[in-house]
């Protein structure tokens, strides 16, 4: 096990910067998920940690020791690839034993460790097969087994679940989490799937255009995003964004949505005093809108009309969609309400969880 530190790490491919000076300290045993859209530099970062990509600037340190110039062989890490990268000419056993053989572990111990890892992953009966005789999920397990038997100082995962179907992905997610709680080895996990990031991570690191936008525990990143990008990227369904104008009214703050389609009142705030009369963007998660049928209490100053356009029943909850001030708005709704397109509901806003965003910089404003 090991701590990993990235200091002002950067990487360019020719003139194209892929990673621009990121700093990140990963503690021993931590499960870090690097998440972001395609081309954000997360995979390049992982490959630099693995030693598969050279470093253009800055440093990578394992347990305080710089490893920039160390080849992958000398780093004692194990990587699980998106494509699994199993050696097709070897059996599952030989695939898993490959790294141990290279490091000169004796045969008896190799057998023992491979069998133990195979048992942990439920692939004991596959040891004599070749990769082409395995299903996608089985290959995925073998790839993880190959990493586990080495007992490396860190596991690196490069979108390991993206080739699996949804059911299998959910199942493997749980297994990876269970494995980590058993092994307590440092993990750096790259994905573009925010659900994987939320469910697996001790700490999420959101990347965009080669820089770290935000890093923190999943809850924190979800509840207190630093900007519109993180707010929109983390969470499914996505956060709703509504255009509004900030005004003062009777000692309180008022948000006029669109052309006055609705108004929401907030307690007065010194932090926002300088922004009165300016345009802002409201960020609201779908679960922070509660639906009221006509006739129910609607709490003026905290609600707006919600004419249902589309309904998506998911079983445990139902998603309802409408358009407010030109923006699509989605809300989670109790399925017992049986909403139907055309229903004129009212959405009550949980103002405690409402985010105000500067439309120019995209930063989430202090309230």
């Amino acid at each position: 096990m090991s701590s990993i530190e990235l200091r002002n790490l950067s990487k360019s491919f020719g003139d194209v910067p892929a990673v621009r000076g990121i700093d990140l300290a990963i503690t021993d045993g931590e499960f870090i998920v690097l998440v972001g859209p395609s081309g954000c530099g997360k995979t390049t970062t992982l490959r630099m940690i693995a030693g598969l990509e050279s470093v253009s600037g800055g440093a990578i340190a394992f347990d305080g020791e710089e490893v920039n110039r160390l080849p992958p062989k000398g780093r004692d890490i194990a990587m699980v690839f998106q494509s699994y990268a199993l050696y097709p000419h070897m059996t599952v056993f030989a695939n898993m034993a490959f790294g141990l053989r290279l490091s000169g572990v004796d045969r008896a111990q190799i057998g023992e460790r491979v069998r133990a890892a195979a048992e942990l992953l439920n692939i004991s009966e596959l040891l004599r097969r070749r990769p082409r005789e395995l299903s996608g999920g089985q290959r995925q397990r073998v790839a993880m087994g190959r990493a586990i038997v080495r007992q490396p100082r860190a596991f690196l995962f490069d979108e390991p679940l993206s080739n699996l179907d949804a059911n299998l992905r959910a199942q493997m997610r749980v297994e990876i989490k269970r494995l980590h709680s058993q092994l307590r080895t440092t993990v750096v996990y790259v994905t573009h799937d925010q659900v994987e990031a939320m469910t697996l991570a001790d700490r999420i690191v959101v990347m965009r255009d080669g820089v770290i936008v935000q890093s923190g525990p999943p809850e924190e990143v979800y509840r207190q995003p630093v900007d519109r990008f993180v707010a929109g990227f983390i969470g499914a369904p996505k956060m709703n964004f509504l255009p509004a104008r900030l005004a003062a009214e009777n000692g309180a703050l008022s948000l006029r949505i669109g052309e006055g389609e609705a108004e929401i009142r907030l307690p007065a705030s010194d932090a926002l005093a300088g922004r009165l009369g300016e345009d802002v963007e409201i960020g609201l998660r779908p679960e922070h809108l509660s639906m009221r049928t006509p006739g129910e209490d609607t709490e003026p100053g905290r609600s707006f009309p919600f004419p249902v356009e589309v309904v998506e029943p998911l079983g445990a909850e139902t998603l309802v969609f409408t358009t407010v001030a030109g923006a699509e708005v989605v809300a989670r709704c109790d399925p017992e309400l049986h909403p139907r397109p055309g229903d004129r509901l009212t959405a009550v806003v949980d103002t405690a969880h409402l985010h105000l965003i500067d439309p120019e910089s995209g930063r989430v404003l202090e309230r």
Binding site: K73, Q82, Y84, L86, R132
Partner: protein, 280 residues
């Protein structure tokens, strides 16, 4: 009642008939060679050749090894063709790997230019080649011949292996490296085994080129002790009296190693090794 598609049956029959005909046309000279090699002299040069005769004997083979230096030529051919094959595989593997895995200026030009070397017929380059070899002191040596065959087979071998290496996912090599292999080990343990069909194809090509070559050996070799089979046989043919039975026996013995080599390696040529490596 079984419904028979007669059109399909006839097309199958026609196909097999055609194939048998081609096999017969190609195989007949070989068969004639084998038959002649075991026939007494009086049956070979006769006004009415017989296809079958029941008077077979091995005397031509005995003569071939007892009365001529055939065994020397045979050993020379095996040595030269074998060495050229191993050397070509070694150099072509490294070159093809370098061209597929590293980025450097002129990489694509080299890859594209490889086959241009075959625009020149060997006979065109034989004189410059001889001068080159003479200044290197390699004329009249087996090493010179090995280099000659390697230069001739290398471009095609590199081109073929390059295509094989390109088809092997980079992930596999990187997986081997993160598993603790150095780059040479990753290549030797993961890449080369997967490119085995390509390596086999290259070895067949080189072996046949070297085994059959007459031109380079004729020009580069003078000593009888260094002659390879094609020029050795040619000299036997040009001897005062041509012993056709012995010539044919020589022909049979020359064919056998190439045949054995091909039978040994052809099963590795079957593709499909790569299946299951990565997603799919």
């Amino acid at each position: 009642m079984i419904d028979i598609d007669w059109r399909q049956v006839f097309s199958q029959i026609a196909l097999y008939f055609g194939a048998a005909l081609i096999a017969l046309v190609c195989g007949f000279p070989l068969l004639w060679m084998v038959l002649t090699s075991v026939r007494p002299d009086r049956d070979i040069l006769t006004a009415t050749p017989k296809f079958w005769s029941f008077d077979y004997h091995w005397q031509h083979y005995v003569n071939l090894f007892d009365l001529t230096d055939f065994h020397i030529y045979f050993v020379n051919s095996i040595t030269v063709a074998g060495s050229a094959t191993l050397f070509t595989i070694f150099v072509a593997t490294l070159a093809a790997y370098g061209i597929t895995r590293f980025r450097f200026g002129g990489r694509n030009a080299i890859a594209a230019g490889m086959l241009f070397t075959y625009m020149f017929a060997p006979i065109l380059i034989i004189v410059p080649f001889y001068i080159l070899m003479r200044s290197a002191g390699l004329v009249n040596s087996k090493l010179g011949l090995v280099f000659a065959y390697t230069t001739f087979s290398l471009p095609f071998s590199m081109w073929l292996l390059r295509a094989f290496f390109q088809s092997i996912p980079l992930d596999l090599e990187e997986a081997a490296m993160t598993d603790g292999a150095s780059r040479p080990k990753a290549v030797a343990l993961v890449i080369v085994p997967l490119a085995l069909p390509g390596v086999i194809a290259v070895s067949i090509f080189t072996f046949i080129v070297a085994w059959n070559d007459y031109l380079f050996a004729r020009v580069l070799i003078n000593d009888n002790e260094l002659k390879t089979l094609p020029i050795g046989m040619d000299d036997l043919y040009n001897a005062t009296v041509t012993d056709w039975g012995m010539m044919m026996a020589g022909g049979v013995v020359i064919t056998i190693p190439a045949l054995v080599f091909f039978i040994l390696v052809q099963r590795y040529l079957i593709a499909g090794w790569g299946a299951g490596a990565v997603k799919g």
